[in-house]
Symmetry: C2
Subunit: 226 residues, 2 copies
């Protein structure tokens, strides 16, 4: 038996992804929530999937909704961080929007479980998830501000209502993963591009991609060291 957290013995050797018991619990819960359903999954089933006792799980999470909240937070954490690093940068809004969209959709596609599908749970409308909703609203508003900025600086007429689309387009990878399991590289590129084109933005997307990826690398390195 291997040791787990506060000295409790494990029932079985590790069988989940993750380097810590907490990460293993999150991985097992993510699988069960997305494949069996949130309502159909008990903390007992999660503990069993990890190979630990239910009491050990409670050392890390007091209740099932705490696990859901942690998982939901992970789906937006990296994008929220990047959006924060991009805020107030001198680069054009179009470059920053494209950088955020490309990064966000890549990380949504790379995640082992399609947790975004849980955004549609009615449970999320309760007070328990108010903080998550606020953070996600903030991310959405960040996208919308960059979209409005991209239209303004391009000097185009813009498309009324279209500023909501870059964020919503990125989220379509959640729908595609739900139905089809995988999002092709072409589709990922087309989704990011459609975010700009839907605004009426007419510039060169090849140039924009190079600038966006360079910016993402620069601000993330700065964020990590600064």
């Amino acid at each position: 038996m291997t040791q787990l957290g506060p000295g409790r013995p494990r029932l079985e050797p590790r069988r989940r992804q993750g380097h810590t018991p907490r990460a293993e619990i999150l991985d097992a819960a993510a699988e069960l929530f997305t494949t069996k359903g949130y309502g159909n999954t008990s903390t007992r089933a999660i503990a069993e999937a990890v190979g630990i006792r239910q009491a050990s799980l409670y050392h890390h999470f007091a209740a099932k909704d705490d696990i859901l909240d942690a998982l939901l937070g992970e789906t937006i954490a990296a994008a929220v961080e990047l959006a924060g690093l991009l805020r107030g940068r001198p680069e054009p809004a179009a470059v920053r929007l494209y950088a955020l969209a490309r990064f966000d959709l890549e990380q949504l596609c790379a995640a082992r479980w399609n947790i975004g599908a849980l955004y549609f749970l009615p449970e999320l409308r309760g007070d328990r998830f108010a903080r998550f909703r606020l953070r996600r609203d903030h991310l959405r508003e960040g996208y919308e501000a960059l979209a409005a900025g991209a239209v303004a600086e391009a000097g185009v007429a813009g498309v009324p209502g279209a500023e909501v689309l870059p964020f919503r387009l990125v989220e379509t990878v959640i729908n595609i993963r739900t139905d089809q399991g995988e999002v092709s590289a072409d589709a990922r590129r087309a989704i990011a591009d459609a975010g700009l084109r839907s605004l009426g933005w007419q510039g060169d997307l090849g140039t924009l991609a190079a600038e966006a990826d360079a910016l993402t690398a620069a601000v993330r390195e700065q964020g990590a060291t600064g």
Copy 2:
């Protein structure tokens, strides 16, 4: 007491939307599934919400998943019908695609409950919902064929992978309704337009809208009488 179906007395006067007991059950189930969650809703709770006995509910639906299947079917029925009527029509694919997208997103927005949010339930991956998945895949493929046709007839280079976007853009109204409750008229228009623009289609959308709406009216009238 009013009479219900096969002579069973109602517990209370009608309190749901719908002209038939079946429609009232579907309305109550749609509300409960989208506000409390599918897993958290029992057939007993649905019967109570309608004001009928659980035994009466079973005259109409043998099980909860039959109710879900009927509700899901309703979310795509009108779009599937229109897609069928548009198939093989002589009008340009761009007109037919825009007609389908505009109609589909209007009906998704007009529905009393946002049933599309239930597409993400893991339960839908089971055999029970294979027929629904097939019908919805067929609708999606109809969108993709029209998108490919619109690119071909416009003689533009096209955007690899973008043919999936008109369908996925229409579905974003489900996400917007989930988060924000309502989809503005500007956003609805921008979504349909983005479907065309994301393909690289550069024509005039005002002209296309007039042609598309005329086509929808014509084929639906023909479908109703023919």
